[in-house]
Symmetry: C2
Subunit: 104 residues, 2 copies
């Protein structure tokens, strides 16, 4: 199991909308995450900076990366693009964070 | 089980020392964490901002909070105070982050 931490950034005033959309996450997206080895996925919001901190446990980096290139995931990115900072392909601007400590 | 996310801040240039000290975390501190219901504890470092992002699963807020007031934990805080932003009692300056998404 690999633990990944990363940060993304919300646009100003979009926290409520971001949370609402995630409370209503499409079942097909949940399936996509599980089918690509993602488990125990949590996202936190820092109201001081609008940074989103993501935590996820994955089985395999390659398998997880393949999930990004599914039709359902690209549809999700397009849907979320008005809410958060994105790249030209509508993927979220996401920066991996270094794991400096772990205790089971 | 309760999932907690929080941020702390390292002093400039202290990432290597922070990681080293956590790689060598005192066995008594590991025991203290487990005895107070903490599990699956991970800390990430954001090199762009020197923010530390903590993720932990706890059994109970009150039980977890009691761990802060143990002799071993106060000793750890004193040891870590030169490395990161702290309050007058040497506890880390720590800000809870809002959980906006979770998928098992």
């Amino acid at each position: 199991m690999i633990i990944k931490g990363f940060k993304m950034k919300l646009y100003e005033g979009m926290a409520e909308e971001y949370e609402k959309r995630h409370n209503e996450l499409w079942p097909e997206m949940k399936d996509m995450i599980h089918e690509h080895g993602g488990r125990n996925y949590t996202i936190f919001w820092d109201k001081e900076t609008n940074i989103l901190f993501g935590y996820i446990e994955i089985e395999d980096e390659e398998k997880w990366a393949e999930g990004a290139d599914t039709a359902i995931n690209r549809k999700w990115w397009d849907f979320m693009a008005p809410v958060m900072e994105t790249n030209p392909d509508n993927s979220p601007v996401s920066v991996d964070l270094k794991n400096v400590f772990h205790l089971d």
